[in-house]
């Protein structure tokens, strides 16, 4: 079985805040079309890894390469344009805007927007607005949010907000999608459908996913390989079965629910 080409290649990135070494020497090779997991106790540095990848923070050292493009030093919007998109653990929707507009905004990245054609409503502009509109409604349909398109994003229930975050991230047409605890706050029913949804998204959009998740049921079920962080250090990297048996991982989770005990 030959592995597909590596799409996201992270080599030894680190960052510290004052004295706190939040992430140390983190590496990851993510092959195209795969779904990998990133787990670890609270405060382990998982979200910080996402922030480093997406350019919210600048790494003190190490390199990040997406499909041959070096991401170090790029601004977040350039990284999004290169094909890396994400959701936020503490939901960051555009609350005052409608559900539809949240997705339409994200479609913006792949279009061309001159101020003149906007003011004059040129043919290209009209065609693009129509295309954005249709594409956004399609995405909302896939995530089961089309009936709420006109509502203000902040009025959605929690689970819907998480799915809207995914819809919005997909609208940027990413190569790699970073999901930060998408199941947090969902009930078991929603979690189950989220699993199916993630699988469907991977097939339909040909996207590679890196998933942070606390719910071990979800992680062990859908991830092909898992990286475990503890205090910013990678303590294990393996297939789910091995991770469940790994004594270091079990120790790291001691006091929390052990990963195997789902």
């Amino acid at each position: 079985m030959s592995t597909p080409p590596i799409v996201l290649d992270v080599q030894g990135i680190s960052i510290s805040f004052g004295g706190l070494k939040a992430v140390q020497n983190f590496s990851l090779k993510l092959p195209r079309g795969r779904l990998y997991g990133l787990i670890g106790p609270n405060g382990a540095g998982k979200t910080t890894v996402f922030n480093l990848l997406t350019g919210v923070y600048q790494a003190d050292s190490g390199t990040i390469t997406l499909d041959g493009v070096k991401l170090n030093g790029l601004k977040p919007h350039q990284i999004a344009a290169a094909g890396l998109s994400r959701t936020f653990q503490n939901i960051r929707l555009f609350g005052e805007l409608s559900v539809l507009d949240n997705v339409r905004l994200a479609c913006h990245l792949r279009g061309k927007h001159s101020i003149w054609s906007t003011i004059l409503r040129s043919a290209y502009h009209m065609g693009q607005e129509a295309a954005i509109h249709r594409r956004s409604l399609d995405l909302l349909g896939i995530l089961g949010l089309d009936s709420r398109a006109g509502e203000q994003a902040r009025n959605l229930p929690y689970g819907d907000q998480r799915r809207l975050e995914i819809a919005r991230a997909l609208a940027t047409d990413p190569k790699v999608l970073l999901l930060d605890e998408p199941a947090a706050g969902m009930n078991p029913q929603e979690k189950k459908s989220l699993r199916d949804l993630i699988r469907q998204i991977m097939r339909q959009f040909d996207v590679t996913i890196l998933l942070i998740e606390h719910d071990m049921g979800v992680v062990m079920d859908i991830c092909e390989r898992i990286t475990v962080l503890d205090y910013g250090v990678t303590i294990a990297e393996d297939v789910p079965k091995e991770i469940q048996k790994n004594p270091k991982v079990i120790e790291a989770y001691l006091g929390e629910a052990a990963p195997a005990a789902h």
Binding site: S85, H113, L120, G127, I132, R134, R135
Partner: protein, 444 residues
């Protein structure tokens, strides 16, 4: 899957529909301008139509500031500075241009606005208002360049710092303009003709202000620009660019993660807003026949900010409405009318709308009832003691701002347009979105 750009190309509407869409705002502007100039203005008499004209200029200022302070969520306190830049540029071109082209600083003919010129000696002199309107547009361009220069470095700053920097910018503009040379008086045309252009460009009257400008501004020009400004800002709001503006205001980090180049869009917002403020400055200068940077300090910026805050941070129609109200208010305060009827109408409106939307709300009704009672009591006291209420205007504004932030921080209309909160809008909108692949996002 086809890329968005390919989809956009294949989705282009028929070519025949494009030109009308591009120019109808201009035609509507011309029609409304003509209506204001020929029918409404003369029907109202001199003084009221002067107020209506000032209201129009204020609408342009407030609506353009909405692009920065409302849509984009940046806080500019230097809008009057852009107005000053545009006003001085426009005044310079019109004033010295008139001398050079027509040999006099008096208003020449108005061919473009059909306001005569047949009596003028030369064909050229009939084109006075073309010079004027061209110079107003140049004023807009000058202000836009200033907007770019201020915007580029300072937009890396967070909201409240930006506020201070723009305030400082406005003050620097004022200081620089007040440091210019004496203007060349209208009766010394030969001097103006003899001097090179760059020397004219720094002879702007200094602390005394730039005076004796030809007065070209009419209701026609003002309302033409009002309509064009309103429609352009509305089109921007309902486009990808507008959504990018709004996303910055909502959450800069999420906006960046979704690929919005926030610096670029902040600068765009600044440039767009500055352009209209510059045009408004030109209209203002050639209405009064004088412009003085000393009058366009931060107090003027505050006036505009109050309109935006009151109308709704991001509502075009709300800002326009607030501009009208706040222009008329001082006139009303000279001889205040009873407050209670207004309060009752407002209460009825809110009760009607909110019960129609099945979310009846007591709080605003109580607030309005109390406020109008207090105002009425104040009015009675003022009447009985012979106090001029207009003196309290700024105190009232201040209290209005503070109360607004406590009670309804998003302004009266928030980011919504007035018609969007009317009954039935949400339903129609949902129906439109439901029609998959319907013709288009915004209105044509």
């Amino acid at each position: 899957m086809p890329t968005l750009i390919e989809q956009a190309r294949s989705n282009k509407p028929a070519a025949a529909s494009i030109l009308p869409r591009a120019i109808w705002p201009l035609l509507v502007g011309l029609a409304i301008g003509a209506l204001m100039f020929y029918v409404i203005g003369p029907g109202m008499g001199d003084y009221p139509s002067k107020i209506v004209l000032i209201a129009g200029i204020n609408i342009i200022l407030a609506v353009s500031l909405t692009v920065v302070n409302g849509f984009t969520g940046q806080f500019s306190m230097g809008h009057a500075g852009f107005m000053a830049v545009g006003g001085y540029v426009a005044a310079t071109i019109t004033y010295y241009g008139s001398m050079k082209l027509f040999g006099s600083a008096d208003p020449a003919g108005g061919v473009l606005s059909f306001t005569g010129g047949a009596d003028k000696p030369t064909a050229l002199a009939r084109w006075g208002d073309a010079l004027f309107i061209g110079s107003c547009l140049m004023g807009g361009v000058g202000a836009a360049i200033a907007g770019y220069i201020v915007g580029l470095p300072s937009l890396r700053l967070r909201g409240d710092y930006l506020a201070i920097v723009t305030l400082g910018f406005g003050e620097i503009v004022r200081v620089l303009l007040q440091g210019t040379h004496e203007q060349i008086q209208p009766w010394r045309v030969e001097d103006a003709l003899a001097k090179p252009v760059y020397e004219l460009a720094i002879s702007l009257g200094g602390p005394k202000g730039f005076q004796l400008l030809p007065t070209y501004t009419t209701l026609f020009w003002v309302y033409l620009f009002v309509v064009v400004t309103l429609i352009i800002c509305y089109r921007v709001k309902n486009s990808s660019t507008g959504r990018a503006f709004l996303s910055i205001r909502e959450d800069e980090i999420a906006a960046q993660a979704m690929g919005v180049d926030i610096t670029k869009y902040k600068v765009r917002a600044f440039v767009l807003a500055a352009f209209f403020a510059g045009v408004a400055g030109g209209l203002y200068a050639m209405d009064i026949g004088a412009i003085n940077a000393g009058d366009l300090g931060f107090l003027k910026s505050f006036d505009i900010i109050i309109m935006v805050v009151l109308g709704g941070m991001g509502s075009i129609s709300g800002a326009a409405l607030a501009a009208i109200i706040l222009t008329i208010l001082p006139e009303l305060l000279r001889n205040p009318p009873p407050v209670w009827p207004v309060g009752l109408v407002l209460i009825a409106l809110i009760a009607g709308v909110s019960s129609y939307r099945k979310r009846f709300r007591w709080k605003p009704i109580i607030v309005i009832a109390i406020a109008s009672t207090l105002l009425e009591v104040g009015r009675q006291i003022a009447l009985s003691k012979g106090i001029n209420v207009a003196d309290f205007r700024l105190i009232l504004y201040a209290l209005l701002l503070i109360t607004m932030m406590l009670v309804r921080p998003q302004g009266i209309f928030g980011i919504h347009e007035i018609w969007e909160i009317l009954p039935g809008y949400a339903r129609r909108e949902a129906a439109r979105n439901g029609a998959r692949g319907g013709s288009q996002g915004g209105k044509p």
